[in-house]
Each structure stands twice: as C-alpha cells, then as structure tokens.
C-alpha cells in the first residue's frame, strides 16, 4: 500500500477548483456522503440512490480534472476484502429477507437465491458509493492539509501531533521500503521464488522487516531528541493560525449536505 503513497500525494498536489477548496469543506462533504449512505437501510431504495450519488460524484470528479483511470485504479486497490464478502453473499440466505427464490442450483447442494444476489448488489453499491468519496478526498487534498483541516475541525492535538509525525515519516519509510526491496532484488532474492528454501526466504524477510522496525524505532528516538532540542513540548500543535472558511465554500457544504439528506428522502417518498 505504501508504494502508492507518492502517486496519491502527487495527484493531491495538482490544481483544480476541487483541489483549491478548503480541506475542511472536503472532509465534511466526504464524511457526510458516507454517513448518509451507510444510514440508508439495506433495501432496493439504494439502487436509485446509488445512481444519484454517481451523478453528483461525476460533477465533482470532473471538476477535479483528474483522469478517470485514477479513479478506477484507486477503486480496484480497495476492492479485495469487500469483493470477497460481496461475491460469497449470493450463496447464503440473508437475514434481511424472509422468503427465498432459487435462481439456479449448483452441484453439491449449493443454491443461488434471487434475494441473495439482490442483497449482494445492494451491498456492492453502498460500498462503492462510500469508497469513491474517500478517493476524491485523498486524491485532491494533500495529507498535510487534511491534517490541518482535521485539527481545525476539532481533532485532539495529541492525535494531530501523532498523525503529523507519522505522515512525515511515511514518505521516509516508503523510500526505505523501496530501497530494501531493490537491495533484495539485486541479490536475486524473491519472496515467492520456489527455488529458494522456504525457511531461508522467511528468515531473510523477517530480518529485513526486523531491521525496518529497528530503523523506524531509532528514527523515532532521534526525532524525539531533536524535537526536544528545538523546544518541543506537549502543546506544540496548539498554535495553528485561525482561518475562516470562505462563505462561498460554506455554501458548497450547505448545498452538498442538503443533497445527501434530500436524495434518500425524495426517493423514499416518490420511488421511481
């Protein structure tokens, strides 16, 4: 995962109307979108709602001037675990339904039910509708801005400080991780090479990971001492200059929040 850090951060440093928005605005919009979608019960209401989400999202992604391939690539990266759960849904009777109509039967007594397929689709839609907002948020907001935005929104200063330190060193360790892998590859080491004894592969990997652990621990010690030398104390992150959100951007937040509330309500009252 860490190997994609640089690419995501580069996207976040581009320029577009979405990139220029205050981080707080984007955080609130993304979180509201996700919470609103999660709050909708597992029902067929999700299907038109999902379509609505995609329409609204298309505008946002278009305004961000990021290529569609970025969205697809990042979406695929998040898939594995969710996809596993979604695909296996279709073989089980789901507690959200009372009656089950078999769609077709497979050998070994496995039956695929219509309702289970429906539930799997609803789950997939809800999952997708949530994840795309996270992708927009992190692809258009640099980490440092996200952190400052979070801090201004009331993230406790201890957490902000810890996350700030972590973010800075993530990039250091991403490089270190790449270096270690390159060094291993130069020596013709491949973790999945069957020609090498399994025990040898595991030992080598364990020592590589152990040294990375040690280097990060020692980096932590050095950083801590250096920070103390420069007068670091408990209240370091308190002094963040106040910056009001421009009123036009507040308007954007208000409109988006209204959409996320109005969409499910309208679809509930007047279904398609």
């Amino acid at each position: 995962m860490i190997e994609h850090l640089g690419t995501i951060e580069q996207d976040a440093h581009r320029d577009s109307p979405v990139h220029r928005l205050d981080a707080r605005v984007k955080i609130v919009i993304a979180f509201a979108a996700i919470i609103a979608m999660v709050a909708v019960p597992y029902s067929t209401l999700v299907i038109p709602l999902f379509a609505g989400y995609l329409l609204v999202y298309a505008v946002w992604w278009g305004l961000s001037r990021l290529p569609l391939s970025t969205l697809l690539w990042r979406y695929l990266l998040t898939l594995p675990f969710g996809l596993f759960i979604i695909i296996f849904q279709i073989f089980f009777e789901n507690p959200y339904y009372d009656t089950f109509t078999p769609l077709f039967a497979l050998p070994l007594g496995i039956t695929v039910y219509v309702q289970s397929v429906e539930f799997a689709s609803i789950l997939a839609m809800k999952f997708t509708a949530c994840i795309i907002w996270i992708i927009l948020l992190s692809s258009t907001t640099p980490m440092e801005e996200l952190l400052k935005g979070g801090r201004r929104l009331g993230l406790p200063s201890v957490m902000a400080l810890s996350l700030g330190m972590m973010i800075r060193y993530l990039f250091v360790f991403a490089d270190m991780f790449a270096n270690i892998n390159r060094a291993l590859a130069l020596r013709h080491f491949a973790a999945f090479d069957r020609a090498l004894p399994y025990r040898y592969r595991l030992t080598t990997l364990a020592y590589a990971i152990g040294s990375l652990f040690l280097r990060s621990y020692e980096q932590g010690e050095r950083t801590y001492i250096c920070m103390q030398c420069r007068g670091y104390g408990k209240r370091t992150y308190e002094a963040l200059p106040k910056r009001p959100v421009p009123s036009r951007q507040l308007g954007v937040v208000a409109v988006m929040l209204a959409i996320f509330v109005a969409l499910p309500v309208m679809l509930y009252i007047a279904p398609f």
Partner: protein, 218 residues
Amino acid sequence: MHIPDAFIPLWQSAIYWIVALIFIALALRWAKNELSEDKIPLIAVLAAGIFAIQAFNLPVAMGTSGHLVGGALAAIVLGSPYAAVFILTLVLIIQGIIFGDGGITTMGVNILNMGVIGGFVGYYGYTGLKSAGANIYLSAGIAAWCACFVASLAAAVEMAVAGTFPLVPGLIAMGTYHAAIGIIEGIITGAIIYFLVTSRPDLLAEEVQQPSAGGVSA
C-alpha cells in the same frame, strides 16, 4: 480483515466507535503515564514504520500471500497492549482516509479488532506463555498467531451481527484463512523478536537476560 463502510449498519458502527474511543483514551493515558507524553513522537514514527512493514508481501503456503498486522509485535516490544492500540489506531486512520482500506464509519470496529483485540491477545498471550515457561520467541510467535486468528473471528462475528455475512460460514472462511496467514505472522514475529534481541537487547530489556551469556534457553 479491514471491514469497509456499509458492511456494518450505522447504529452498530457507532457502538463500536464508542468502545474504540474508550480504548484510545486509555492508550493516550498510558502514553502520558508510562512514556511521558513528550515521547509520543517516538510512537508516531514507529507507527509509520509499522505501516511500511505491512507492505511486505509474505509467501504463505500454496502460492497465496499475506502480510503482517504488527500489533502483537508492537505490544511485545513496547511492553503494553496499549502500544498496539495507539499504533494501530494511527495506521488505520491513514489507511481509512488516504487509501480507502477500511472505512470511516467502520474505523471504530477495525480499531477494536486489530488494535484492541489483537494488542491484548498478543500481549497477554505472550506474557502468559512466557510465565508458563516457554521461550520468548515461541511465546511471541504463538501470541502473534492468536492475535491474528482471534481478531479475524471477531470480525466474522461482527459481520454476522450486522447481517452482512452468516455466522458459521464466516467463522470458517475468516478463521481458516487467518489461521493460515497467522502462521506467517507468528513465525515472522518470533524471528523479528530474535533479531531485535541480538541487535538491540536493551529494547526488550525486561524480557531478556543477555542472550550472549547464554541466559535464554532456546
């Protein structure tokens, strides 16, 4: 086992979030009392390291791959389950918000599984086995396996409660998969502890009495 958004209903997510927040508060109190609050940067940098460690693809039997969670490792080396809670919380926030691995509403449940359950099972499994007379590398390995396995069972139960995956198939699927992945987690954790004891014995000062003097019965 990062449960994504929408796999747990909102009200259940809220409950898990509250429980997770209690443990995060306890972990912050631990950092204040045991580490002196100033030392938090050290833990934060270590969390970045753990994030990088999770990127290593490890060969599991039959061509599948897995990666370390690292909660048990952190808890054992730093000598407290709260270290795991703290570090995994930081890691999961970055994973959830930057990479979309896990989710916003389900971050609480993920912190609960990997940080709290993983950390406590890992740490107390380790101290329990060690006091029962097992050597430290074996104890660390078994404890790390248990941490991975128990956390995955918890995730299966939570999804069954949420109604998004039936209980028994969930327990079997998650259990067997993570029992296999956990073996790697166990072996690698044990080997890392060995590596740390030989290269920086002061890190694990309480556990080891100078391996070079033959104090450890291996």
